[in-house]
Amino acid sequence: MRRLFVLALLLGAMRVIQPLGAGGYGAQALLAFGFLILAAYAAGELAVAIRIPKLVGYLIAGVVFGPSALGTVGTRAIADLSPVSSLAIALIAFIAGVELQWQEVRERGLGLLRVLGTELGISIVTITAFLLLLREHISFLQHGTIVEALAFSIVFAAMAAVHSPAVAIAMLSETRARGPVAKTTLGLVLISDVVIVLLLTLTLAIARALVPPAGANAPALTLGAVAWEVIGAVLIGGILGALVTLYLRFIRRELFLFAIMVAFFGSEIAHLVHVEPLLTLMTTGFVVENVSAPDHSAALRSALERAAAPVFVVFFALAGAGIALPQLARLWPLVLPLALVRAGAIWAGVRLSLGWSGLPRDEVPVLRRHVWTGLLPQAGVAIGLAAVVAQTYPSRGGDMQVLFLALIAVNQAVGPILFRRALDQSGEIPRTEERAAAAETSAIARP
């Protein structure tokens, strides 16, 4: 009840303030930012009360207060707050890297690649087939030859196969889940993030060969550029990781600020030199975790989690605000079956591959039942990929983007709920008392 009261108060305050002001000096974005933090956080707590994940609450708050519904946070403010999303993605990758231990990568890396390879293969083939089957009802496939339809279906399927490290990490951070399902899901989404970039580049290259894009604004993608994107990211991430390790060894002060700075810095450098930002930060975190002393990396992890808390709230609320309800309403007869086909393909891919993946035998039954749910959600990276395709093929890519954003909206809303349930059922979420104790320990460890 108190949460609803907070939301009403916040909304009332915004309604009073907005007509009186005139913005300027970034004030409108700041006002929207403050409102979103509080409103989305309150919505997240409301969501927990009705047993759905907090981040779904943040998303719903974004949808409700965004331009599609109440319009409290306008399109301009969403655009102005895009650096917050970039920071969130960078922090997510950094946290993910810090979670990865060399020992585990060595033991499980190959197994995860096998699962991911099978799952992605089955997803892309199934979604491509589904799109070709319904091509008469899909705007970007209706006109043109079968070869063109095939090319665009593959590109769309490669985009649709993407998973969300953001949701997985936010969910694991919210629930503090620890166990094989959490570990395997995290590993899969992190690797998939790199694989998908390569895959989309490859499918786009095929599409460009089959259907040359019209206009001059199509970004040129070469194998060399893609290789640099990956190798350069590892190199830069490694250097940054070494610097962070040195800092932790010799200075180790103000880790909260330092964590944000590293995430920002890594992301900006990655953009400047055109390497994969997520992989850069992930490598940085990985180097820190595996090279620095355990208590140093634990202190950094704790600072990172703290810095990420408000950023996650706004990131998911902004993702929600970006959902275009009118488009979703128009496209739902196509989007819902598409989401089901994707979910089915992920489920089948994971089940089929786990048997021969080489992952520990005793874990396989629980992984078979639950891991697929963690691969359903889609968020930030997916939206970025859709923008790349829309830039390459402005007309058809634009239609593709609309359908894809509608698909993301469905997966964003349903995926986290199923993943939370799976973590619960697999017994990997600690009980409330254990979580409180863990939180207390981390608060004590905080610098």
Binding site: R2, G26, F33, G34, A439
Partner: protein, 390 residues
């Protein structure tokens, strides 16, 4: 260079400088760190090297507004009634009297100079009032450094602590009232009176503080506390700036409400002060980057500001102490410890600089940063000298 990378590099440079060099230097030689960021900002800014160009400086405006809000909240949280009630009333009387004398002296002289230079009484009045308000502010960094290094807890140190807090409050409040008096009517609503704008300025902080408590409830979970504080400060400062009021003042109100209505003020103070430093760096750095030379006759008002403020602080504090019978305890020149200027001065100058239709913003801002550069470095030494004499 992108805006965020510029921000990052600037903060990183200042941060490392502060930790590796100035902290050590400060403790060893009693030199207060702060003004060097301002100088660094001027050097990196559009007027000199242009590394932080005008576009970058503009795009970082929300961060600066947030920094203003954060620093305002920290200042507001110093006014915890429970602790203030334990301080003798005479200490406050001296502090308020010194603030009033400084404001009257600097404001009056600047008004006369403005009247002589720029003819219009209105303009001179605003110039005098804003510079008077900035003159009142004094930095508490020197006092804190001396208290830390020498573990000094004498009557004069207690007076200096209270005086720097009251100076900040008076300066921020006067400036907030000036903004309300000069508030431009908005095309979309009925023009509000000055009193109504003052009430709105206070209400933003009070409503924000109340909302914070309703939001937080009884659970002081560290994540929730941090999220609520960030959300509250962002919203309060954003709302004040959006309404073209003083984010510093509304945030001071917000901080006061928080610290006086919670059962665990120490937790709140600790959470806010822990993140204060980066915002302080940002404020000083981008304050420096925002500096522009004035096209008008700036030398006289700026020189007058520095000289008149020095005289007013020393003379005003002496008069205030004498009037309250505290001269034997505090000494003749205890006001010298209040000469240092820092975050409040730059915050007020910066807010004024970005107000629409402000008179001679570059003169005001130049005066503020000139005073900071000239006084802050040595404020701890001045404090030590005063403490040693008393």
């Amino acid at each position: 260079m992108t805006a965020s990378l510029a921000l990052l590099l600037a903060v990183a440079a200042a941060y490392l400088a502060a930790h590796v060099f100035f902290d050590w230097l400060g403790r060893r030689y009693l030199i207060v760190s702060g003004a060097e960021y301002l100088v660094l900002g001027v050097l990196l800014g559009p007027q000199l090297s242009d590394i932080l160009d005008a576009r970058i400086v503009d795009s970082l405006a929300p961060i600066l507004t947030l920094a203003l809000g954060w620093i305002g909240t920290v200042i507001g949280m110093q006014f915890e009634l429970r602790k203030l009630l334990a301080i003798p009333a005479r200490t406050f009387r001296i502090a308020f009297a010194e603030s009033a004398l400084t404001f009257a002296t600097v404001g009056g002289l600047e008004f006369l100079a403005g009247r002589w230079l720029f003819v219009s009484t209105d303009i001179a009045l605003v110039l005098g009032a804003v510079l008077g308000a900035i003159a009142v502010a004094s930095s508490g960094m020197g006092v804190s450094l001396v208290a830390d290094v020498f573990e000094a807890d004498t009557p004069i140190m207690r007076q200096l602590h209270v005086s720097t807090q009251i100076n900040a409050l008076v300066a921020i409040a006067i400036f907030a009232v000036i903004l309300c008096v000069r508030h431009q009517p908005l095309p979309t609503s009925r023009p509000l009176t000055t009193t109504e704008w003052v009430a709105v300025s206070i209400a933003i902080g009070v409503v924000g503080g109340t909302l914070f408590h309703v939001f937080l409830g009884d659970v002081y979970d560290s994540d929730r506390l941090f999220v609520s504080l960030v959300g509250g400060i962002v919203m309060v400062s954003g709302a004040a700036m959006y309404l073209r009021l003083s984010p510093l003042f509304s945030a001071v109100m917000f901080g006061m409400i928080l610290v006086n209505t919670t059962n665990r003020p120490e937790v709140l103070i600790d959470t806010v002060t822990r993140v204060e430093r980066p915002f302080y760096f940002v404020l000083m750095l981008f304050g420096g980057a925002n500096w522009r030379p004035s096209g008008q006759a700036w030398l006289l008002p700026v020189l007058l500001f520095v000289v008149a403020r020095t005289a007013a602080k020393i003379g005003g504090s002496r008069l205030a102490a004498r009037a309250n019978g505290a001269l034997p305890e505090l000494g003749d020149k205890w006001g010298a410890a209040l000469l240092g200027q820092g975050r409040v001065a730059v915050a007020i100058g910066l807010t004024y600089l970005h107000q629409e239709n402000s008179f001679f913003p570059n003169i005001v801002f130049t005066a503020a940063i000139a005073s900071i550069v000239l006084t802050e470095f040595l404020s701890a030494r001045a404090t030590r000298a005063v403490v040693a004499v008393s």
